[in-house]
Protein backbone atom coordinates (compact mmCIF):
# COMPACT_ATOMS: atom_id res chain seq x y z
CA UNK A 1 0.00 0.00 0.00
CA UNK A 2 1.24 3.48 -0.86
CA UNK A 3 1.60 6.56 1.23
CA UNK A 4 -1.85 7.68 2.37
CA UNK A 5 -2.74 11.25 1.44
CA UNK A 6 -5.55 13.47 2.71
CA UNK A 7 -6.44 16.66 0.90
CA UNK A 8 -8.85 19.28 2.17
CA UNK A 9 -9.78 22.72 0.88
CA UNK A 10 -11.03 25.68 2.87
CA UNK A 11 -11.34 29.30 1.82
CA UNK A 12 -9.90 29.01 -1.67
CA UNK A 13 -10.75 29.13 -5.36
CA UNK A 14 -9.51 25.62 -6.13
CA UNK A 15 -6.60 26.76 -8.26
CA UNK A 16 -4.05 24.92 -6.13
CA UNK A 17 -5.92 21.67 -6.75
CA UNK A 18 -5.70 22.40 -10.48
CA UNK A 19 -1.96 22.80 -9.96
CA UNK A 20 -1.84 19.21 -8.72
CA UNK A 21 -3.52 18.16 -11.94
CA UNK A 22 -1.19 20.44 -13.88
CA UNK A 23 1.80 18.36 -12.73
CA UNK A 24 1.30 16.36 -15.91
CA UNK A 25 3.29 13.22 -16.54
CA UNK A 26 5.29 13.16 -13.30
CA UNK A 27 1.90 12.88 -11.58
CA UNK A 28 1.58 9.32 -12.91
CA UNK A 29 4.77 8.27 -11.13
CA UNK A 30 3.60 9.90 -7.92
CA UNK A 31 0.11 8.43 -8.13
CA UNK A 32 1.62 4.93 -8.28
CA UNK A 33 3.18 5.52 -4.89
CA UNK A 34 0.34 7.26 -3.06
CA UNK A 35 -3.19 6.42 -1.99
CA UNK A 36 -5.50 9.41 -1.89
CA UNK A 37 -7.93 8.54 0.90
CA UNK A 38 -9.77 11.83 1.27
CA UNK A 39 -10.07 14.65 -1.25
CA UNK A 40 -13.39 16.49 -1.55
CA UNK A 41 -12.59 17.96 -4.97
CA UNK A 42 -11.90 14.52 -6.41
CA UNK A 43 -14.01 11.96 -4.62
CA UNK A 44 -17.23 11.51 -2.76
CA UNK A 45 -16.01 10.96 0.74
CA UNK A 46 -18.35 12.41 3.31
CA UNK A 47 -17.17 14.01 6.50
CA UNK A 48 -20.04 12.75 8.70
CA UNK A 49 -19.77 9.16 7.39
CA UNK A 50 -21.12 8.01 4.00
CA UNK A 51 -24.72 7.89 5.26
CA UNK A 52 -24.36 10.82 7.63
CA UNK A 53 -24.41 8.51 10.64
CA UNK A 54 -21.66 10.26 12.59
CA UNK A 55 -22.00 13.31 14.80
CA UNK A 56 -18.48 14.66 14.43
CA UNK A 57 -16.57 15.46 11.23
CA UNK A 58 -14.00 12.80 10.53
CA UNK A 59 -11.21 12.32 8.01
CA UNK A 60 -9.27 9.07 7.61
CA UNK A 61 -5.82 8.52 9.11
CA UNK A 62 -3.09 9.50 6.64
CA UNK A 63 0.64 9.96 6.35
CA UNK A 64 0.49 13.24 4.48
CA UNK A 65 -2.15 15.94 4.69
CA UNK A 66 -2.48 18.71 2.12
CA UNK A 67 -4.59 21.71 3.00
CA UNK A 68 -5.29 24.59 0.66
CA UNK A 69 -7.12 27.72 1.71
CA UNK A 70 -7.23 29.87 4.80
CA UNK A 71 -9.59 29.55 7.77
CA UNK A 72 -12.74 31.60 7.18
CA UNK A 73 -15.41 29.79 9.20
CA UNK A 74 -15.79 27.53 12.20
CA UNK A 75 -16.12 24.44 10.02
CA UNK A 76 -12.69 25.20 8.50
CA UNK A 77 -11.25 25.55 11.97
CA UNK A 78 -12.67 22.27 13.27
CA UNK A 79 -11.64 20.42 10.14
CA UNK A 80 -8.12 21.87 10.26
CA UNK A 81 -7.74 20.50 13.77
CA UNK A 82 -9.14 17.13 12.67
CA UNK A 83 -6.69 17.03 9.74
CA UNK A 84 -3.81 17.83 12.07
CA UNK A 85 -4.86 15.03 14.38
CA UNK A 86 -5.10 12.44 11.60
CA UNK A 87 -2.14 13.42 9.41
CA UNK A 88 1.47 12.78 10.36
CA UNK A 89 2.81 15.47 8.04
CA UNK A 90 0.75 18.53 7.23
CA UNK A 91 1.43 20.72 4.20
CA UNK A 92 -0.07 24.18 3.68
CA UNK A 93 -0.66 24.31 -0.07
CA UNK A 94 -0.78 27.70 -1.74
CA UNK A 95 -0.71 31.27 -0.49
CA UNK A 96 -4.20 31.13 1.06
CA UNK A 97 -3.12 28.40 3.44
CA UNK A 98 0.30 29.97 3.99
CA UNK A 99 -0.65 33.59 4.56
CA UNK A 100 -4.34 34.10 3.92
CA UNK A 101 -4.16 34.90 0.21
CA UNK A 102 -6.66 37.10 -1.58
CA UNK A 103 -9.60 36.13 0.72
CA UNK A 104 -7.65 37.63 3.64
CA UNK A 105 -8.09 41.11 2.12
CA UNK A 106 -11.44 40.84 3.90
CA UNK A 107 -9.47 41.41 7.11
CA UNK A 108 -9.53 45.11 6.24
CA UNK A 109 -13.17 45.10 7.35
CA UNK A 110 -14.88 43.54 10.33
CA UNK A 111 -17.00 40.44 9.72
CA UNK A 112 -20.12 42.43 10.59
CA UNK A 113 -19.29 45.10 8.01
CA UNK A 114 -18.76 42.41 5.39
CA UNK A 115 -22.10 40.76 6.06
CA UNK A 116 -23.88 44.13 6.03
CA UNK A 117 -22.26 45.08 2.75
CA UNK A 118 -22.90 41.79 0.99
CA UNK A 119 -26.46 41.10 2.14
CA UNK A 120 -27.86 44.58 2.77
CA UNK A 121 -25.63 47.44 1.65
CA UNK A 122 -24.76 46.45 -1.90
CA UNK A 123 -26.49 48.66 -4.47
CA UNK A 124 -26.91 45.86 -6.99
CA UNK A 125 -28.79 43.41 -4.78
CA UNK A 126 -32.01 43.62 -2.79
CA UNK A 127 -31.46 44.02 0.92
CA UNK A 128 -32.04 40.71 2.58
CA UNK A 129 -31.60 38.89 5.86
CA UNK A 130 -28.12 37.75 6.82
CA UNK A 131 -28.14 33.95 6.56
CA UNK A 132 -27.48 32.23 9.85
CA UNK A 133 -29.29 28.88 9.62
CA UNK A 134 -27.58 25.60 8.70
CA UNK A 135 -24.28 27.24 7.85
CA UNK A 136 -21.09 27.47 9.87
CA UNK A 137 -20.46 30.82 11.54
CA UNK A 138 -17.73 33.03 10.09
CA UNK A 139 -14.56 33.46 12.13
CA UNK A 140 -13.73 36.99 13.30
CA UNK A 141 -11.13 37.25 10.51
CA UNK A 142 -9.36 35.10 7.92
CA UNK A 143 -6.59 33.03 9.48
CA UNK A 144 -3.62 31.38 7.83
CA UNK A 145 -3.50 27.65 8.51
CA UNK A 146 -0.40 27.98 10.67
CA UNK A 147 -2.24 30.42 12.95
CA UNK A 148 -4.68 27.65 13.84
CA UNK A 149 -2.68 24.41 13.78
CA UNK A 150 1.06 23.68 13.52
CA UNK A 151 2.11 23.15 9.90
CA UNK A 152 5.12 21.05 8.82
CA UNK A 153 5.68 22.57 5.40
CA UNK A 154 4.48 25.60 3.48
CA UNK A 155 4.26 25.69 -0.30
CA UNK A 156 3.30 29.26 -1.23
CA UNK A 157 2.03 30.60 -4.53
CA UNK A 158 -1.22 31.67 -6.11
CA UNK A 159 -1.45 29.13 -7.47
CA UNK A 160 1.60 27.24 -6.32
CA UNK A 161 3.76 25.68 -9.04
CA UNK A 162 3.49 22.06 -10.18
CA UNK A 163 7.28 21.78 -9.84
CA UNK A 164 7.17 22.74 -6.19
CA UNK A 165 4.36 20.26 -5.43
CA UNK A 166 6.28 17.49 -7.20
CA UNK A 167 9.50 18.45 -5.43
CA UNK A 168 7.83 18.39 -2.02
CA UNK A 169 5.92 15.13 -2.59
CA UNK A 170 8.91 13.30 -4.11
CA UNK A 171 11.18 14.45 -1.30
CA UNK A 172 8.60 13.25 1.23
CA UNK A 173 8.23 9.87 -0.50
CA UNK A 174 11.97 9.40 -0.56
CA UNK A 175 12.41 10.70 2.97
CA UNK A 176 14.62 13.56 1.85
CA UNK A 177 14.44 17.13 3.15
CA UNK A 178 12.75 19.77 0.99
CA UNK A 179 12.66 23.47 1.56
CA UNK A 180 10.85 25.94 -0.69
CA UNK A 181 12.96 28.86 -1.97
CA UNK A 182 13.51 31.66 0.50
CA UNK A 183 15.09 34.35 -1.66
CA UNK A 184 13.18 37.31 -3.07
CA UNK A 185 11.78 37.59 -6.58
CA UNK A 186 14.35 40.31 -7.30
CA UNK A 187 17.13 37.80 -6.61
CA UNK A 188 15.91 35.72 -9.52
CA UNK A 189 14.92 38.57 -11.80
CA UNK A 190 17.29 39.10 -14.74
CA UNK A 191 16.42 42.72 -15.50
CA UNK A 192 18.90 45.60 -15.22
CA UNK A 193 18.88 47.43 -11.89
CA UNK A 194 20.61 50.73 -11.30
CA UNK A 195 18.95 51.63 -7.97
CA UNK A 196 17.44 54.78 -9.41
CA UNK A 197 14.02 55.32 -10.90
CA UNK A 198 13.90 56.67 -14.44
CA UNK A 199 10.63 58.49 -13.95
CA UNK A 200 7.56 58.75 -11.81
CA UNK A 201 5.12 56.05 -10.82
CA UNK A 202 3.01 54.75 -13.71
CA UNK A 203 -0.28 52.94 -13.64
CA UNK A 204 0.08 49.25 -13.11
CA UNK A 205 -0.98 48.17 -16.58
CA UNK A 206 1.04 50.78 -18.46
CA UNK A 207 3.39 49.10 -20.89
CA UNK A 208 7.03 48.91 -19.88
CA UNK A 209 9.80 49.96 -22.23
CA UNK A 210 11.59 47.05 -23.83
CA UNK A 211 12.72 45.85 -27.21
CA UNK A 212 10.57 42.94 -28.38
CA UNK A 213 12.61 39.90 -29.22
CA UNK A 214 15.55 40.86 -27.03
CA UNK A 215 16.19 38.90 -23.79
CA UNK A 216 14.86 40.13 -20.44
CA UNK A 217 18.39 40.79 -19.25
CA UNK A 218 18.37 43.83 -21.54
CA UNK A 219 15.21 45.31 -20.02
CA UNK A 220 15.38 47.88 -17.24
CA UNK A 221 13.91 46.84 -13.88
CA UNK A 222 10.12 47.42 -14.02
CA UNK A 223 10.07 49.18 -10.66
CA UNK A 224 12.78 51.56 -11.82
CA UNK A 225 10.63 52.25 -14.88
CA UNK A 226 7.91 53.33 -12.47
CA UNK A 227 5.74 50.24 -12.70
CA UNK A 228 4.83 49.00 -9.24
CA UNK A 229 6.38 45.55 -8.83
CA UNK A 230 6.14 43.55 -5.61
CA UNK A 231 9.40 41.70 -6.30
CA UNK A 232 11.51 43.12 -3.44
CA UNK A 233 9.13 41.85 -0.76
CA UNK A 234 7.99 38.61 -2.37
CA UNK A 235 9.34 35.10 -2.05
CA UNK A 236 10.81 33.61 -5.19
CA UNK A 237 10.08 30.18 -6.60
CA UNK A 238 7.38 30.99 -9.15
CA UNK A 239 9.86 30.58 -11.99
CA UNK A 240 10.62 27.00 -11.02
CA UNK A 241 13.80 25.59 -12.51
CA UNK A 242 13.72 28.21 -15.28
CA UNK A 243 14.51 30.79 -12.62
CA UNK A 244 12.97 33.87 -14.22
CA UNK A 245 9.80 34.84 -12.31
CA UNK A 246 6.53 33.99 -14.05
CA UNK A 247 5.10 37.50 -14.44
CA UNK A 248 8.43 39.06 -15.42
CA UNK A 249 8.64 36.50 -18.22
CA UNK A 250 5.46 38.06 -19.59
CA UNK A 251 6.83 41.62 -19.10
CA UNK A 252 4.41 42.11 -16.22
CA UNK A 253 5.29 43.31 -12.70
CA UNK A 254 5.29 40.85 -9.80
CA UNK A 255 1.94 40.74 -8.00
CA UNK A 256 3.37 39.27 -4.82
CA UNK A 257 1.55 35.95 -5.06
CA UNK A 258 4.26 33.91 -3.33
CA UNK A 259 3.71 35.94 -0.20
CA UNK A 260 6.17 37.66 2.12
CA UNK A 261 9.79 36.58 2.60
CA UNK A 262 9.19 35.27 6.12
CA UNK A 263 6.35 34.85 8.56
CA UNK A 264 7.42 37.94 10.46
CA UNK A 265 8.17 40.13 7.43
CA UNK A 266 5.97 43.12 6.76
CA UNK A 267 5.68 43.51 2.97
CA UNK A 268 4.14 46.96 3.21
CA UNK A 269 7.10 48.41 5.12
CA UNK A 270 9.54 46.60 2.83
CA UNK A 271 7.86 47.93 -0.29
CA UNK A 272 7.48 51.49 0.98
CA UNK A 273 11.18 51.41 1.85
CA UNK A 274 12.10 49.99 -1.54
CA UNK A 275 10.00 52.58 -3.38
CA UNK A 276 11.36 55.57 -1.51
CA UNK A 277 14.93 54.26 -1.76
CA UNK A 278 14.95 54.40 -5.53
CA UNK A 279 13.29 57.79 -5.61
CA UNK A 280 9.64 57.02 -6.32
CA UNK A 281 6.96 58.85 -4.40
CA UNK A 282 5.28 56.48 -1.93
CA UNK A 283 2.39 58.94 -1.55
CA UNK A 284 1.11 57.94 -4.97
CA UNK A 285 0.36 54.37 -3.89
CA UNK A 286 -3.38 53.93 -3.60
CA UNK A 287 -4.45 51.84 -0.61
CA UNK A 288 -0.96 50.71 0.39
CA UNK A 289 -1.98 48.17 3.03
CA UNK A 290 -4.08 46.19 0.61
CA UNK A 291 -1.77 46.70 -2.37
CA UNK A 292 1.29 45.32 -0.62
CA UNK A 293 -0.47 42.66 1.45
CA UNK A 294 -2.54 41.32 -1.40
CA UNK A 295 -1.60 37.72 -0.66
CA UNK A 296 -0.51 38.08 2.95
CA UNK A 297 -3.47 39.55 4.81
CA UNK A 298 -3.80 36.91 7.55
CA UNK A 299 -2.32 38.40 10.71
CA UNK A 300 -1.16 41.54 8.88
CA UNK A 301 -4.28 43.37 7.79
CA UNK A 302 -6.86 44.68 10.20
CA UNK A 303 -9.79 47.08 9.99
CA UNK A 304 -8.76 50.73 9.98
CA UNK A 305 -9.20 52.37 13.39
CA UNK A 306 -12.30 54.58 13.66
CA UNK A 307 -11.43 58.25 14.09
Amino acid sequence: MGVRVNEEWFSICGGCEVTILDIGEPLLDILAKIDIVHMPVLMDHKLFGQTGEKTEMEVPEADVGLISGGIRNEENRTLAKEMRKKCKFLIALGSCACSGGVPALANLSTTQELLEKVYRGSKTTDANGIPNQQIPALTDRVYALSEVVPVDMKLPGCPTTPEMVVGALTALLEGKPFSPPSKSVCDECPTIREKKATGTLKRRLDAPEFTPGRPLSEMRCLMEQGILCDGPATRSGCGGSAGTPRCIRAYMPCEGCFGPLSDTANPMVDMMGALSSIGLDPKQIPDRSATFNRFAGAGRLRPAPRR
Binding site: N266, M268, V269, D270, M272, G273, S276, S277, R288, P305
Partner: protein, 138 residues
Protein backbone atom coordinates in the same frame (compact mmCIF):
# COMPACT_ATOMS: atom_id res chain seq x y z
CA UNK B 1 10.87 61.05 42.06
CA UNK B 2 7.89 62.53 40.31
CA UNK B 3 5.28 60.57 38.42
CA UNK B 4 5.78 62.11 34.99
CA UNK B 5 5.89 59.60 32.18
CA UNK B 6 9.44 58.78 31.15
CA UNK B 7 9.33 57.92 27.45
CA UNK B 8 11.67 55.47 25.81
CA UNK B 9 13.07 56.93 22.63
CA UNK B 10 15.35 55.16 20.19
CA UNK B 11 17.75 57.56 18.46
CA UNK B 12 19.44 56.41 15.28
CA UNK B 13 22.47 58.64 14.80
CA UNK B 14 24.82 58.62 11.86
CA UNK B 15 28.45 57.90 12.60
CA UNK B 16 29.91 60.99 10.99
CA UNK B 17 27.80 63.91 12.19
CA UNK B 18 25.01 63.19 14.64
CA UNK B 19 26.77 60.62 16.77
CA UNK B 20 29.74 62.96 17.05
CA UNK B 21 27.25 65.72 17.89
CA UNK B 22 25.76 63.57 20.65
CA UNK B 23 29.28 62.88 21.84
CA UNK B 24 30.01 66.59 21.95
CA UNK B 25 26.87 67.16 24.00
CA UNK B 26 28.24 64.59 26.40
CA UNK B 27 31.79 65.89 26.74
CA UNK B 28 30.45 69.45 26.98
CA UNK B 29 28.27 68.23 29.88
CA UNK B 30 25.09 69.63 28.39
CA UNK B 31 22.08 68.32 30.29
CA UNK B 32 19.31 66.58 28.38
CA UNK B 33 16.63 64.06 29.38
CA UNK B 34 17.80 60.45 29.82
CA UNK B 35 14.94 59.23 27.62
CA UNK B 36 16.97 58.35 24.57
CA UNK B 37 18.90 55.22 23.69
CA UNK B 38 21.34 56.04 20.92
CA UNK B 39 22.10 53.49 18.24
CA UNK B 40 25.02 54.42 16.03
CA UNK B 41 24.54 53.68 12.34
CA UNK B 42 27.03 54.34 9.59
CA UNK B 43 24.68 56.63 7.71
CA UNK B 44 21.11 57.80 8.17
CA UNK B 45 20.57 56.50 4.63
CA UNK B 46 21.02 52.93 5.83
CA UNK B 47 18.06 53.13 8.18
CA UNK B 48 15.46 51.00 6.48
CA UNK B 49 11.85 51.76 7.43
CA UNK B 50 11.75 48.21 8.80
CA UNK B 51 14.17 49.15 11.58
CA UNK B 52 12.02 52.07 12.66
CA UNK B 53 8.76 50.13 12.50
CA UNK B 54 10.42 47.28 14.39
CA UNK B 55 11.50 49.69 17.14
CA UNK B 56 7.92 50.92 17.42
CA UNK B 57 6.30 47.49 17.43
CA UNK B 58 8.78 46.38 20.10
CA UNK B 59 7.47 49.16 22.32
CA UNK B 60 9.52 52.31 21.70
CA UNK B 61 7.53 55.47 22.44
CA UNK B 62 9.41 57.50 19.87
CA UNK B 63 12.09 57.17 17.26
CA UNK B 64 14.51 59.97 16.45
CA UNK B 65 16.54 59.72 13.29
CA UNK B 66 19.57 62.02 13.02
CA UNK B 67 21.82 62.58 10.06
CA UNK B 68 24.24 65.11 8.60
CA UNK B 69 22.88 68.36 7.19
CA UNK B 70 21.90 68.06 3.51
CA UNK B 71 25.04 68.47 1.45
CA UNK B 72 27.30 67.38 4.31
CA UNK B 73 26.71 63.64 4.02
CA UNK B 74 29.86 61.58 4.29
CA UNK B 75 28.44 59.37 1.55
CA UNK B 76 27.31 62.25 -0.69
CA UNK B 77 23.56 61.72 -0.56
CA UNK B 78 22.75 59.18 2.13
CA UNK B 79 20.78 61.72 4.11
CA UNK B 80 18.66 62.62 1.09
CA UNK B 81 17.70 58.97 0.88
CA UNK B 82 16.92 59.07 4.59
CA UNK B 83 14.63 62.05 4.00
CA UNK B 84 12.62 60.15 1.40
CA UNK B 85 12.41 57.10 3.61
CA UNK B 86 11.35 59.25 6.56
CA UNK B 87 8.45 60.48 4.47
CA UNK B 88 7.37 56.87 3.85
CA UNK B 89 7.76 56.05 7.55
CA UNK B 90 5.57 59.02 8.57
CA UNK B 91 2.90 57.86 6.15
CA UNK B 92 2.92 54.33 7.52
CA UNK B 93 2.75 55.11 11.23
CA UNK B 94 -1.05 55.62 11.25
CA UNK B 95 -1.37 52.17 9.60
CA UNK B 96 0.20 50.76 12.74
CA UNK B 97 -2.06 52.82 15.00
CA UNK B 98 0.68 55.32 15.95
CA UNK B 99 0.84 59.11 15.78
CA UNK B 100 3.12 60.67 13.17
CA UNK B 101 4.63 62.88 15.89
CA UNK B 102 6.31 59.88 17.45
CA UNK B 103 8.84 59.93 14.66
CA UNK B 104 11.24 62.73 13.91
CA UNK B 105 14.07 63.31 11.47
CA UNK B 106 16.64 65.93 12.43
CA UNK B 107 19.91 67.12 10.96
CA UNK B 108 22.65 67.47 13.60
CA UNK B 109 26.24 68.21 12.67
CA UNK B 110 29.31 67.13 14.66
CA UNK B 111 29.67 70.66 16.01
CA UNK B 112 26.09 70.97 17.24
CA UNK B 113 26.21 69.36 20.67
CA UNK B 114 23.91 72.00 22.10
CA UNK B 115 21.48 71.54 19.24
CA UNK B 116 21.43 67.78 19.80
CA UNK B 117 20.52 68.31 23.45
CA UNK B 118 17.84 70.80 22.39
CA UNK B 119 16.36 68.38 19.88
CA UNK B 120 16.24 65.61 22.48
CA UNK B 121 14.57 67.94 24.99
CA UNK B 122 11.93 69.04 22.51
CA UNK B 123 11.25 65.56 21.21
CA UNK B 124 11.02 64.08 24.69
CA UNK B 125 8.43 66.72 25.62
CA UNK B 126 6.52 66.01 22.43
CA UNK B 127 6.44 62.25 23.08
CA UNK B 128 5.58 62.84 26.73
CA UNK B 129 2.46 64.67 25.60
CA UNK B 130 1.45 61.70 23.41
CA UNK B 131 1.87 59.24 26.26
CA UNK B 132 3.08 55.65 26.21
CA UNK B 133 3.08 53.70 22.97
CA UNK B 134 0.15 51.29 22.60
CA UNK B 135 2.71 48.56 21.84
CA UNK B 136 4.53 49.03 25.12
CA UNK B 137 3.11 46.13 27.10
CA UNK B 138 2.00 43.87 24.32
Amino acid sequence: MNDTFEPLIIALCCNWCSFAGADLAGVSRIQYPPSIRIIRVMCSGMVHPNLVIEAFTQGADGVLMCGCHPGDCHYQEGNLKAEKRAEAIRMMLPDFGLEEERFRLEWVSAAEGARFAQVVREFTEQVQKLGASPYRNS
